[in-house]
Symmetry: C2
Subunit: 207 residues, 2 copies
DNA sequence: ATATTATTAGTACATTTGTACTAAATTAAA
DNA sequence: TTTAATTTAGTACAAATGTACTAATAATAT
């Protein structure tokens, strides 16, 4: 059976997730696929090319998820958080070596920087909308929601790593936990109306 | 001049911070110290021993800082945050490879796990005290302050990495920024009394 | 059927790494 | 001063890694 780029990426991703990025060499991947190293380098000349391809898979999945989640209010935030965290879990090896990858791969780093700018704008838009609709209170401190965003982003980028360390090994069940940890950080900024919506949302999720 | 363990650790730390953990080999360190590799391995038989020693330096510094900061209320939290973040910056190479180190070094991992338990108890104590003294509001959600702690911890463990990625390279000036980002996450849980104390604290810092 | 292209296996090379080992040199002890 | 211990330099080794190269095989096109 002929090997495909897709199959290589799929197996590589699984291996990276299981063993950790640095413990998977080109030979490891070739062995798992029962193909020769020569064959592997024919499809991906460099190991970094595999990592890049998987990173952009992640990004594609993310964009799709964000595009789909077009609800309003808190529900949309919840839905996005959930979708994003699931994807981050799927590509958890990237998140577990996030800092290393960003430091060593300029192509990925450059792309990620632009992504951050976009995300910040999107976040600001949502926040402003929530304020207008009386769900979120006004800012009381300088840069208050800007800093909230930084915390959101930081937790988004690193909850997988944190979970891996805190709970021996990260598992699927942790996604829900961190969904809630992230979502709760919004709660104390909500107005009375917002809190009611929050509680309603929580009830609807439990069902 | 005779080489000392202290000198080796100091130079290793600087190199690790500048070049990143994975880009500093035993030979790099020996070269920088203008000693032979043989001499270096005489003082530290394994590269991992150097990393461990530096980790425990960090821990010692941390414990000392926490022991000293015995104020009350929000001021104590601010003081501790500030001290801890400064130390984390000093040993930033550890934070930049935090996940990798925790995954690969069992000794450090085991120690860190115990440290986490202790920190959580300390945090819970402070929170309860702040509630009693009417500075922090009661919990409104299940596990609300537990989750706040997880966010605190996560940001504490990874703000260095995040700053490194977001701002090309982490610098001393970022410490203040993240002090505030962390401290602000407490703000919306404060009572009226607590918020007054918060504003007073902020004014006193600006001076 | 033949020619061309794509795919595969196998191997080889250069580099790097941690660290073990030996012998010399230096320092401390008697 | 002689002996013992400590420290140093230099080297060597084994393992792993990314990836380039060559020749074979298989697939496709003409």
């Amino acid at each position: 059976m002929r090997i495909t780029k897709g199959k290589i990426l799929q197996v590589s991703g699984t291996l990276f997730n299981e063993k950790g990025l640095s413990n998977v060499s080109m030979r490891t991947i070739a062995d798992e696929l029962t193909i020769s190293p020569g064959n592997l380098t024919y499809h991906f000349r460099k190991r970094e090319d595999i990592i890049e391809a998987l990173y952009f898979e992640l990004v594609d999945n993310m964009n799709e998820a964000i595009a789909q989640a077009q609800q309003t209010g808190l529900a949309s935030i919840y839905q996005m958080t959930q979708a994003i965290n699931s994807i981050l879990y799927t590509y958890r090896f990237i998140m577990l070596d996030f800092t290393t990858i960003m430091r060593n791969n300029k192509k990925i780093k450059t792309h990620f920087e632009k992504l951050c700018e976009l995300r910040k704008v999107q976040f600001t838009g949502i926040i402003n909308h929530l304020i207008k609709t009386g769900i979120l209170r006004q800012e009381e401190l300088p840069r208050e929601y800007e800093f909230l965003y930084y915390r959101f982003q930081l937790i988004g980028d690193y909850w997988v790593s944190s979970a891996e360390i805190l709970h021996q090994k990260i598992a699927k069940k942790h996604i829900e936990l961190y969904n809630e940890i992230i979502l709760q950080s919004l709660y104390p900024y909500l107005t009375k109306k917002g809190r009611n919506e929050y509680h309603a949302l929580m009830k609807s999720i439990l069902i």
